[in-house]
Each structure stands twice: as structure tokens, then as C-alpha cells.
């Protein structure tokens, strides 16, 4: 499923949160949104999973304006793993994941065999089969994140929207999640904090700054020391070895007396700023 954003703008509290953002994610591709806090990543995602209508511009799924069809219909195609939300109630893992079938069900429909298969498949893929009767509130943060992923998978989406999906996950589960997502036959739009993960898993990296798209393309072309340094306000170096990129980030330090802790320690240990 192809996703197009065409000059999408959103204002939040009178300030532009997204400023004429245009980008395309081709069918089956993984696009990573990268940018500092408040750069508009989540807002962009929200216009795609229909939590916020763009003030202007269009979001198109396979060429059709997303916001011109009923929400229940687009929800059949778009699965979302959003930042964790708490609930006061005690749904079980199975009940929560089953909710992923909601957009596929009419008001009077009961779960069919196909629905149950989708739910079981989602539980299996996320390794939650043994957790079905547990209450979500009793789980660890990482397990809860997997429940939310399972719910999104149970929707059988063709576009998966992920908002900081690796939050709350330990290193191993971060990799597991992204490997799993890449193995699915879906288009992915993910906001990622980790540049390493974006470089490793994304086909496209889109860099946002103050609601504007400042760079978009293959991670190797886009995630350059210059762009990262500019957008995040840090000193960045990129190491390439055996095909993967590693990012080393330091505070941008221009003062002569080394005001940052890391600059002082580096000087003391005799590491020059230009040693890389």
C-alpha cells in the first residue's frame, strides 16, 4: 500500500506543527521519521491514522484521499502502534488484541474463524500466546508494547504506523520488533529515536525539523553528520562498517573552556576532538 503526503500542514495551538510536508512511502517500503522532540513526527503519524485532520494538504492511500472515506474503512488497512496509553480497566491480552478486529466488524457481527485466526497469528508472532489470559495492567512495559503491536497486527493492516515502537523495549526486543515488522508484507511508517535503528532497518529516512521536512531519501544519503548536526544541534560522526552505520553523538561544544562534561573527560584522557 502506497502512502502519499501532499503538502500536509497542521497547526497546534496557533503554531505550525507540520509545514507543507510532502513525502511518499512506496508499497512495501519502510520509512523512518527522524527528528528531535517537537519536530512533528507524532503529528505527522496522527494525520495518517486519522487522529488529526490536516489543516491543509492531503494524505493519500493508494492514491485515494484518506480523509474522504469513513474512518472504519481506512482502519481496516492501517494498523497503529502508538505511544503507550494507560487504561483504568483490566482487559486481558486476548481481549486487547481482539479489539484489533474492530474495524473489520459491523455492529452486529461476531468474531468469525478468520478473525480468530488473525488474532492467534498476531499473538503468535509477538510471542504472546502464553499471555492471553493475563491482564494487560500486570505486564511489564515491554510486554505491553508487544500487546499493542499484536493488536495492530490483528488488524491485518497493509500500512503499519509505529510511533517510537522501541520505547520500553530492551535491546533484544527492539531488534526483534523491527525484524518482525520488516518480515511482514506491509508498508511501514515509523517514528524512530534511534538513528542506528533507522539506518539499519529503513529504506527511507525522512528528517523533520520544526514541522518541515528537511531531508528525505535513503538513510545513507540523508543521515549525514551535517544533517544530523544541524537538526539535532549536536556534533555527529558516522562510522560505516560492514554495511551498517553507527552514529556517535556529542554535545555541540564551541566554548573554549569545555563547558560540557564529555568534552572535559575527553580532553583529560587525551582524545582529540578530531581523532575520528
Amino acid at each position: 500500500m502506497r502512502l502519499d503526503l501532499d503538502s500536509v500542514s497542521v497547526a497546534l495551538g496557533g503554531r505550525p506543527a507540520l509545514d507543507h510536508v510532502s513525502m511518499t512511502v512506496h508499497s512495501g517500503q519502510f520509512a523512518a521519521l527522524v527528528g528531535p522532540n517537537g519536530s512533528g513526527k507524532s503529528t505527522l503519524l496522527r494525520t495518517v491514522y486519522r487522529a488529526r485532520r490536516p489543516d491543509s494538504g492531503t494524505v493519500r492511500l493508494d492514491g485515494h484521499d484518506l480523509w474522504s472515506v469513513p474512518a472504519a474503512r481506512t482502519a481496516r488497512h492501517i494498523g497503529v502502534l502508538m505511544q503507550e496509553q494507560h487504561t483504568g480497566f483490566e482487559f486481558t491480552v486476548a481481549e486487547t488484541v481482539a479489539l484489533g478486529r474492530t474495524p473489520h466488524l459491523g455492529l452486529f457481527d461476531r468474531l468469525t474463524r478468520a478473525d480468530h485466526e488473525a488474532i492467534d497469528e498476531a499473538l503468535h508472532r509477538t510471542g504472546l500466546t502464553a499471555f492471553t489470559g493475563r491482564r494487560v495492567g500486570e505486564l511489564s512495559g515491554g510486554e505491553r508494547q508487544r500487546v499493542l503491536l499484536a493488536r495492530a497486527l490483528a488488524q491485518q493492516p497493509r500500512l503499519l504506523v509505529l510511533d517510537e515502537p522501541t520505547n520500553h523495549l530492551d535491546l533484544r526486543h527492539q531488534l526483534d520488533l523491527l525484524e518482525l515488522v520488516r518480515d511482514l508484507d506491509v508498508t511501514v511508517l515509523a517514528a524512530l529515536h534511534s538513528l542506528d535503528l533507522a539506518a539499519a532497518y529503513a529504506d527511507t529516512a525522512a528528517v523533520l525539523q520544526d514541522g518541515r521536512l528537511v531531508a528525505c531519501g535513503p538513510p545513507a544519503d540523508v543521515l549525514t553528520p551535517e544533517t544530523i548536526g544541524e537538526v539535532f544541534g549536536v556534533d555527529a560522526t558516522v562510522h560505516h562498517d560492514d554495511g551498517t552505520a553507527r552514529f556517535v553523538l556529542r554535545p555541540r561544544c564551541v566554548c573554549p573552556d569545555a563547558c560540557h562534561w564529555s568534552c572535559r573527560t575527553r580532553r583529560l584522557s587525551g582524545v582529540g576532538a578530531d581523532a575520528d
Partner: protein
């Protein structure tokens, strides 16, 4: 993403009793309770006698003029039925409001409904208005409840959205305003008879049960219950929050409006005939969740049945504890409900985690 560790943490079996069995059992207990409760009172009537009289009437037979016939058919049975209907209605309303505002301490009264109903009722009781005859009081209470809810909904709206915390804040604020208004009218009236009536109305009671008004109340409660059940799955999505609802194709604000209008109709209807019976809407949904979990498709029917049972027996207690006088049922629901709820809460470890 499966690890060996995951596999070892097997899920506990949560529901010992199959759901259909539980539902059938509760319904059976309710029927038996209705028979027993109809027999209980200052004049005891054996259950078989109760059953015989009821069958006689349900078979189309008229009044026989016997004392037992009069007591059972004219006085107690409509009251028992009303208790069940009101209990089911209040409990359902509580369950839905808790889901809509995503707050486990919510009940139909949190949003200002009951205080609005009180204003309407007290207005009638203090002015002695009787434009609609015997229906004046329930009509005024219903109008007060719906007007209160309308004001709360309109004031809570923000840029086309209806958000839980705002609803609660606006509802609580208006609740205080209406309570103040009620106290003002109560303080200003010279008639001690009116004051007595007002206090009794605010504490609730089922002595107003009549065959003439029961069908309207029962029909509204049954119809709203069906409409709520149809939305039960969406209500589950709503509980997960605004964003999750959107992701599942559910328009949270529109669903909240729909459910709150239904709840208003439900609460307004039952408050109109029973006064301000508290606590049923707060505790019964929690009991239902403990029995069958949080999935509204399972818990709403159980909530309705438990609510009916609870209020039916609370009314029996109200009738016999200080017989021949009667305790306001609102006192009973608090006295029975609070300790029971606290016991269950401690036993089940409910709400022991921050945020969950």
C-alpha cells in the same frame, strides 16, 4: 519474539464458570429472588402462594379481592419489578459512564445528572405544582436530569471534541451548582411536609411503583440496554483512549455523545421514578468486571442482572428493617454496598497499581 521465559509464564485460568452458565444462573436467581422478595413484608406470603397469585394474573385473571392478592399483585410485585428495572438501569448507566470517561470512580451521578433531577423534583415539591397530576414529579425529575446533562455536554465540548477529564470537571462543577440550588429551595420552603418529602426523594425509594408507569420505565431500560449492547465492542475501543479509538476506526467523540445521550435517557427515566439512589451505578459494574472481566460484551449483561438483584434485595431490607416504617433505599445501598465493595476490593487487590 517468543522466548523460553515467556512460555513458562503460563496464563492463569480466569473464568472458572463458563459465561453462558453464569448468565443463566444469575437470571434464575433473579426470578427466584423476585418471588421470594414479593412474599416478604409486614404480611408474609409464602412463595407458592405468590407464584399462584402471579400465575393467576399473568394468565389474564382479574383481582380476586383477597388481601394476599391485593398485597402481592397491586403493591409488592410492581415494586419488586421496579426495583429490578431501576437497579439494572442504574448499574448499566454506571458501567457505560465509567467506560466513556475512562474513570473507575465515575457513576451516572458524577456528571451532574442526579443533582439536575433533584432540582426538578424539589421545584415541584416546594411549589406544589401538579400540572401533570401524579406524573408531575417524575416528569420534572426527568426534565431536570436531561437538562443538566445537556448543559454539561455543551459546556464540556471543546473544539468539537468531548474529552473525559473535561466532562468530569464540568459535571462535578454543575453538580455542586445544582446541589446548592436544591439546598436553597429546601431552606426557603416553610412547609416541613415538603422538606420531609424532599429528603425522602433525594434518598430514593421504590414506593411509587405502579402498574401504570412501570411499562414505560421497563421499556426504556430494556431498549437502552439493547442499544448499549450493540455498541459494546466499540465501547471497549473507547476505553483504550482517543488515539487508540481513532486507530481502530472509532470516532471517540461521536461515540461518547451517543452513549451519554443514551445514559441520560436511562438515568433520567429511572431517577424520575425512584429518586436519588446512589452507589448502585458505582459498585455493580466493578463486581461484574471481577466476575467476567472488562470486555463490555460480557460485562454489560452481568452488570444489568447484578444491578437488578442488588436493588431488589436492598428494597426488601428497606421495607422490613424498621417495619412498619420504611428506610429510604439510598441509605441501604450505601450501608450494604460500601462494606461489600471494600471487602471485595481488598480481596481482589483492585486498583493496586498507579495508572492501571
Amino acid at each position: 519474539m517468543t522466548t523460553a521465559l515467556d512460555e513458562r509464564r503460563a496464563s492463569p485460568v480466569r473464568h472458572a464458570v463458563p459465561y453462558p452458565v453464569l448468565l443463566t444462573a444469575l437470571a434464575a436467581v433473579l426470578v427466584v429472588s423476585a418471588l421470594l422478595a414479593t412474599g416478604v413484608g409486614p404480611v408474609g406470603v409464602p412463595a407458592d402462594e405468590v407464584a399462584r397469585i402471579l400465575l393467576h394474573h399473568l394468565g389474564g385473571g382479574g383481582d380476586t379481592g383477597a388481601a394476599a392478592d391485593l398485597i402481592v399483585w397491586r403493591i409488592r410485585f410492581p415494586r419488586v419489578l421496579l426495583g429490578a428495572v431501576v437497579g439494572a438501569g442504574l448499574a448499566l448507566a454506571g458501567a457505560v459512564v465509567q467506560g466513556v470517561v475512562r474513570n473507575p470512580v465515575a457513576d451516572p451521578y458524577l456528571l451532574g445528572l442526579s443533582h439536575g433531577a433533584s432540582v426538578g423534583a424539589v421545584l415541584v415539591l416546594t411549589t406544589g405544582a401538579a400540572v401533570l397530576g401524579a406524573l408531575t414529579l417524575p416528569a420534572a425529575a426527568f426534565a431536570g436530569a436531561t437538562a443538566a446533562m445537556a448543559v454539561v455536554l455543551v459546556m464540556a465540548r471543546h473544539r468539537g471534541r468531548l474529552l473525559p477529564m473535561r466532562l468530569i470537571l464540568v459535571g462535578v462543577a454543575f453538580g455542586h451548582l445544582f446541589a446548592g440550588l436544591t439546598s436553597f429551595m429546601l431552606a426557603r420552603t416553610d412547609s416541613s411536609a415538603a422538606q420531609q418529602q424532599i429528603i425522602f426523594w433525594m434518598l430514593g425509594g421504590l414506593s411509587g411503583a405502579r402498574w401504570e408507569t412501570l411499562p414505560v420505565t421497563a421499556t426504556v431500560v430494556a431498549a437502552v440496554a439493547v442499544l448499549l449492547m450493540i455498541r459494546a465492542r466499540r465501547l471497549n475501543a473507547l476505553v483504550l483512549g482517543e488515539e487508540a479509538s481513532a486507530a481502530l476506526g472509532v470516532n471517540a467523540t461521536r461515540l461518547r455523545w451517543y452513549l451519554l445521550v443514551l445514559t441520560t435517557l436511562l438515568t433520567g427515566t429511572v431517577v424520575a421514578v425512584s429518586g436519588g439512589i446512589g452507589f448502585v451505578g458505582l459498585i455493580v459494574p466493578h463486581l461484574a468486571r471481577m466476575l467476567v472481566g472488562a470486555d463490555h460484551r460480557r460485562m454489560l449483561p452481568v452488570t444489568a442482572l447484578l444491578g437488578a438483584l442488588f436493588l431488589l434485595w436492598a428494597d426488601v431490607a428497606a421495607r422490613i428493617l424498621i417495619a412498619p416504617a420504611e428506610l429510604p433505599i439510598g441509605i441501604l445501598t450505601a450501608f450494604l454496598g460500601v462494606p461489600f465493595f471494600l471487602l471485595v476490593m481488598r480481596a481482589r487487590g483492585l486498583a493496586t497499581q498507579e495508572n492501571a
